[in-house]
């Protein structure tokens, strides 16, 4: 974390025998303000390893951590939780704990009793019985206001532990705590090692990240080439633009047919004219679309030239306008001609059933609504024959609900000497049922 020079300086700050305050001032001299935090983190690293620093050095380090942030009001000491944990650590040295607890108490009353002493003095004059060591919970509750709230951090970080393991390279049976070592000027023994060097190297190589619980995060599998993902090239078909042959073309043929159709809308055409129209329509299958007939005009054609209407409709069966034409047929008033047209259509092609049904429904309502008795009777007769024809040609099912309804209506006309027709139609209907 720190450079080599800085590490050395840090260790020097910890080293000499001085009053605690002078250690702090040495520290502030060595490190600029923005480096304080980093330096303190290194101190923590060293402190976490229980044995690396001498006891006096530990006390000095603790003191620095306290003092540096004492003046920072209103913020609290960022290392407070560490300090409290250290103070309540059962495994730690009693002197250390007492030292820390005195420091903690001094936060409140701002006393500086320790500042003039040196660490050595404290240790030598320490009397364990004089201090009552508080437990961890007591400390935490007493200084709760100084502690920041529990930070939210991932459970990984929470469960992280120190990633440094002491691995003394010593012969078996060696006692690490014996005071034989570390005496300056003494004979270098096997397994002696260099405390300061180790401390320095530790600072160099590690960071505050502890060892988190190892986790396996498998990468998603590779996506293999999909069906048709590699694009196989084939040449486009060349579409050449079209020339408009209709330019300046002779449209007299179409015009004459249009004229004939117009006439057909207004009155019956002579047979020769009808024949001509039919021949022309036959000869040019597209002509029927351009002959000027629209669904709106269909009723006129039906009334005046029903057979021509049938032929034209047959030719238009494939167009997508045919439904509009059917709608017009259904909606126009029921008459002999329209019935004839529908009848012929049903024998020629498969009309949609709903169309036929709608037409029959229309018939029913027309029968009921005509005021003129004469016309009504006539219409009823026509409807009966129409029904018969439909049933015989198997266009509709004689027993279907619609037909039954229709017969129910027609039965009312039995009195008007129409029973013959109605009975005939009924008979066909019933024979259908068998």
């Amino acid at each position: 974390m720190l450079s080599t020079g800085e590490t050395a300086a840090l260790l020097a700050v910890l080293g000499d025998e001085r009053s605690l305050d002078s250690h702090v001032s040495a520290f502030t001299l060595t490190f600029k303000r923005q480096q304080h935090f980093k330096a303190c983190c290194c101190l923590i690293l060293l402190l976490e390893d229980r044995r690396l620093l001498k006891q006096t050095q530990r006390l000095v380090a603790f003191y620095i951590l306290f003092e540096l942030y004492r003046g920072e009001q209103p913020s609290t000491n960022p290392f407070m939780s560490f300090l409290i944990d250290a103070a309540s650590n059962e495994a730690a040295d009693k002197a250390e704990r007492a030292f820390l607890q005195i420091l903690l108490m001094s936060l409140n009353n701002n006393s500086k009793e320790l500042s003039m002493k040196s660490a050595n003095e404290f240790i030598s004059t320490f009397d364990p019985s004089a201090h009552k060591l508080l437990s961890g919970e007591a400390l935490k509750s007493r200084y709760a206001d100084k502690l920041p709230p529990e930070p939210r951090m991932s459970s990984f970080k929470k469960a992280s532990i120190s990633n440094t393991i002491p691995d003394p390279d010593v012969p078996p049976g060696y006692d690490l705590d014996s005071p034989e070592h570390g005496v300056p000027g003494g004979v270098a023994q096997l397994g002696a090692g260099n405390r300061e060097a180790a401390a320095a190297a530790l600072i160099q190589t590690s960071s505050l990240n502890g060892l988190e619980p190892p986790w396996v995060r498998p990468a998603p599998p590779r996506l293999p080439p999909q069906q048709g993902e590699m694009i196989w090239q084939i040449p486009d078909t060349q579409h050449e633009l079209l020339w408009d042959y209709g330019m300046c073309a002779d449209t007299s043929r179409g015009a004459s047919i249009r004229e004939l159709i117009n006439r057909a809308l207004k009155g019956a055409l002579a047979p020769a004219q009808q024949k001509k129209v039919l021949l022309e329509l036959e000869a040019d299958p597209k002509l029927v679309y351009h002959c000027g007939l629209t669904p709106r005009r269909l009723p006129e054609l039906v009334e005046n030239n029903p057979l021509l209407a049938v032929e034209v409709l047959l030719k238009l069966m494939n167009s997508n306008q045919i439904t509009d034409y059917f709608k017009m047929l259904v909606n126009m008033d029921i008459s002999l001609h329209s019935m004839e047209v529908v009848n012929r259509l049903t024998t020629a092609v498969d009309l949609p059933t709903e169309f036929v049904h709608m037409y029959i429904t229309n018939c029913i309502s027309s029968c009921e609504n005509i005021k003129d008795k004469y016309l009504q009777n006539r219409l009823v007769r026509l409807v009966c024959v129409f029904l018969q024809s439909l049933i015989r040609n198997k266009i509709i099912n004689g027993t279907c609900l619609l037909v039954i309804n229709l017969h129910a209506v027609l039965v009312r006309f039995v009195a008007a000497r129409l029973h013959k027709w109605i009975v005939a139609s009924l008979r066909d209907s019933l024979s259908c049922a068998r």
């Binding site: 599998p221 579409h239 009808q274």
Partner: protein
């Protein structure tokens, strides 16, 4: 009172061009028509200059005639070598507008006439006048009825240009109304409409529509095809003429009858007209007679048949129905041995069947006589084959050569529309990208994909590939600011002697974005992700975007959006296709039960295979989308964990687990990612649940259950799916969407269980249950002693249990330990 319009009023003259009589010019009608014919001939013999001269003469007659303007524009376009489509498009839209204006004017005029006449007539039923306003037809429909203001040709030309400019959606929107109302359009144009529809639908992935058009074409243009084995059109042709005669006979008869309509007594006659029985069948859906007016220039019938075969081949190939494709290709090649498209399709067939050597031979034969544009395509196809053969260097070389070929041909001529449509550089770049990715060069691959994105931005697979590039780059350690997964444990030794310490790797072992420079606002609220400045502009700027995990996330989100967008449509299409298939099967059954005749069988079989092909394609698309979506979710969760967004990662993982038919390896991934996210969110208990579920599922099945999942996701087709038996070059090429074998192996069997144990160790440790943790760590270590994470997990547990010596022992026993000693010369200390 206006009587009927018998001769007293002229019907309105259609079109101004034909009305030479209206202008003061003394040229008679016939000469104008003659000039027009001459112009047409010159156009078709490609002498555009002469053609334009005549057209300008015609224009002197009438400046505004839209048809003349149209033909002039087309001739000029060809004269200039198809380099200026924009001008042509403008003229076409003007022509269309003008036509509609004129049609509307004429229609109003006609309406004026007809309403004037109907108001006076007495015998018309009263309903008409009232209906005239109620059922007023759309003027656009009216235009279709007015031959002279017909806009079908300008529309068709417009659609063709759009197609060549590769703007398929625009072309389709113009073509669709034409196709729906195809009956009034004359033969030759209708044929071209159908052919263009086929091209567009096959190119834009709408096989259902393509099949529909094919069926329509067979019905409508069947007569164009020379009579082959099962042609059912011939007999109906013959019957049409006698029917026409009988029709006229009937008409005359019934006309005689209706004359006595009004008389009540003559009921029998009246009603006789209604008693038409079904024997007088005039033939349903009268087939189109071959009497085309002489003015059109029909396409030679052989060409149409050939084209239809080729389209069918393409459809069957996308459906993987290799038998049917082979049949069609044979017929096509019988018709024409030299057709380049047919030969390429044959090569594609061999490629799909796995006969790579045959395919290569076929392509190399073609290269000899190909022009440069074609060369590029052939080289690219050779690249595809070598990719399948796993010959990476050769494949990459071929793609490079293909791109060079296109670059050369582009430099030679100025850019024309035809050249543009032939230019396949972007799709070849995509292929090259795919090639590089499978070789393991993610950075190159990503550059290719980013360039191809100009064309394929609507294809979710492209975005998935870009994300994959990022992930592969991550694994190779090529990403900036991101640590990678370590494959061995590196420890540092500090100090000597009694002060020796071992420093283990700190932090997380998984890839993390280290530097906060990749600015994503780390707020876990549901708000939008803040994309770094300029991040979204990379499409426009043309510079390639740097790979990173956040870029991967963007790509994956784009892909998911595209999936969502297509989902509804795809489900619809698949449902329709399935219904159609069921219908055809029903019809087939009823036919066979009735002992159906021989002649319709050929057609019905054809239809059936087409419909089956479409159903297969749609179904496969749905499966593929489901599998890709699974991958996308897994990758998204992974990247979000890497970037440090546990909440989002959790959401993605949960969605992954919710997918129906989620394959086992993906279930594992889902649970693991969810567990990690939960741990990062301080919810280790739920993480434990996830991991336990996963463990139960893994131990329940034997270790090789992974293989069956993979086969479930492979391509399922109706008739004939796998590579043919005689597929040489047996490089087993699995076209499954699951994952390639090596990477999937990590996620199944022993490896999976070991990973699960390791993660369980972590979770138990977080909860303080060190006994369980210890037990599982030992299990994991025995299962896979070489796994660095397992070893570290065991060490961690030992340290947590304050057993430093056993931790050290474990470390020292581990074979793949990488020890670094910090021997910094601290010379001040001796």
């Amino acid at each position: 009172m206006d009587g009927d319009g018998d001769g007293s009023k002229e019907p309105p003259q259609p079109g101004a061009a034909a009305s030479a009589a209206a202008s003061e010019d003394t040229r008679p009608q016939s000469t104008v028509a003659g000039l027009a014919k001459e112009a047409a001939q010159l156009f078709h013999s490609r002498s555009y200059q002469g053609c334009l001269l005549i057209l300008h003469q015609l224009q002197l007659h009438n400046d505004e005639d839209p048809k003349v303007r149209h033909n002039i524009a087309v001739a000029e376009y060809y004269r200039d070598g198809c380099t200026n489509p924009q001008k042509l498009l403008e003229v076409l839209s003007q022509v269309k507008a003008r036509n509609e204006e004129l049609a509307r004017a004429a229609e109003e005029q006609q309406e004026g006439n007809s309403s004037a006449s109907t108001s006076g007539s007495t015998n018309s039923t009263g309903g008409n006048g009232g209906l005239s306003s109620a059922t007023r037809t759309n003027s656009v429909d009216v235009v279709a009825y007015m031959e002279d203001y017909d806009t079908s040709i300008p529309n068709l030309n417009n659609a063709m240009i759009m197609y060549h400019l590769q703007r398929y959606a625009a072309a389709m929107s113009i073509l669709e109304p034409l196709y729906r109302n195809i009956e009034p359009i004359d033969e030759a144009a209708a044929l071209r409409v159908c052919l263009l529809m086929l091209d567009i639908t096959l190119a834009s992935g709408q096989p259902g529509k393509a099949a529909e058009v094919l069926q329509y074409m067979e019905k409508a243009f069947g007569y164009l095809l020379p009579p082959t084995e099962a042609s059912s059109t011939a007999p109906t042709l013959a019957s049409s003429t006698p029917e026409t005669e009988s029709l006229i006979a009937n008409t005359e008869q019934t006309l005689a009858r209706t004359a006595s309509d009004e008389v009540l007594e003559e009921d029998s006659f009246t009603l006789g007209s209604l008693e038409v029985d079904s024997s007088q069948n005039l033939g349903s859906r009268a087939p189109i007679t071959p009497a085309i007016a002489a003015r059109e220039k029909p396409i030679p019938p052989v060409d149409v048949k050939l084209l239809l075969h080729l389209y069918r081949v393409r459809l069957f190939l996308s459906a993987r129905n290799l038998k049917a494709s082979k049949r069609e290709i044979k017929s096509a090649l019988n018709l024409s041995r030299e057709n380049m498209t047919a030969l390429l399709l044959k090569a594609q067939l061999e490629y799909c069947r796995g006969n790579y050597r045959k395919a290569i031979k076929q392509l190399t034969l073609c290269i000899g006589r190909a022009d440069p544009g074609m060369r590029g395509m052939l080289l690219s196809n050779l690249g595809c084959i070598h990719h399948r053969l796993r010959k990476d260097q050769t494949a990459a070389l071929y793609f490079r050569k293909a791109l060079q070929a296109f670059a050369i041909s582009e430099r030679r001529e100025p850019l024309s529309v035809l050249g543009f449509s032939q230019d396949r550089s972007l799709s070849i770049i995509y292929n090259a990208g795919l090639q590089q990715l499978s070789c393991g060069n993610p950075i190159l691959a990503s550059r290719c994909f980013q360039e191809a994105a100009a064309l394929y931005y609507n294809r979710p697979l492209l975005w998935l590939r870009l994300a994959e590039c990022c992930i592969v780059a991550l694994e190779k350690g090529l990403l900036e600011n991101t640590t990678t997964t370590k494959s061995e444990v590196k420890v540092t030794v500090v100090g000597e002697g009694a002060w020796r310490r071992v420093v283990l790797p700190g932090g997380s072992l998984n890839p993390t974005v280290v530097n906060g420079a990749l600015v994503l606002k780390v707020d876990e609220s549901e708000g939008d992700v803040q994309i770094p400045d300029g991040g979204e502009k990379w499409f426009v700027s043309g510079k390639s975007h740097k790979l990173s995990l956040s870029f991967a996330i963007q790509c994956l989100q784009i892909a998911t959006c595209l999936f969502d967008r297509c989902d509804a449509k795809a489900a619809e299409a698949a449902a329709e296709a399935a219904v159609a298939l069921a219908e055809v099967k029903d019809a087939d059954d009823t036919q066979s039960s009735k002992g159906g005749g021989a002649s319709p069988k050929g057609e019905a079989k054809d239809t059936k295979s087409l419909v089956a092909a479409v159903a297969a394609i749609e179904e496969h698309k749905m499966h593929e989308t489901a599998a890709l979506r699974m991958w996308a979710l897994a990758a998204l969760s992974y990247c979000q964990l890497g970037v440090g967004h546990p909440l989002r990662a959790l959401r993605s993982a949960e969605e992954l687990l919710r997918q129906t038919s989620c394959a086992r390896p993906y279930m594992l991934l889902g649970h693991m990612y969810a567990a990690e996210a939960l741990c990062q969110l301080e919810r280790p208990q739920e993480a434990l649940e996830h991991l336990s579920t996963c463990l139960n599922e893994t131990t329940a099945e034997p270790t090789n259950a992974g293989a069956e999942d993979e086969s479930n996701l492979k391509w399922k087709s109706g008739d004939n799916s796998e590579a043919s038996v005689d597929g040489e070059d047996g490089a087993t090429y699995t076209v499954g969407a699951l994952g390639d074998a090596a990477s999937v192996a990590r996620l199944t069997g022993t490896n999976a269980r070991a990973s699960l144990y390791i993660n369980l160790v972590a979770v138990y440790a977080m909860q303080g249950n060190l006994q369980e943790a210890h037990r599982l760590a030992q299990l994991a270590l025995t299962m896979s002693p070489a796994n660095p994470t397992a070893m570290l997990a065991a060490v961690y547990v030992e340290l947590k249990l304050e057993r430093k010596e056993s931790a050290l022992t474990l470390l020292k026993q581990y074979r793949h330990l990488c020890v670094v000693s910090s021997s910094k010369g601290l010379s001040q200390y001796d």
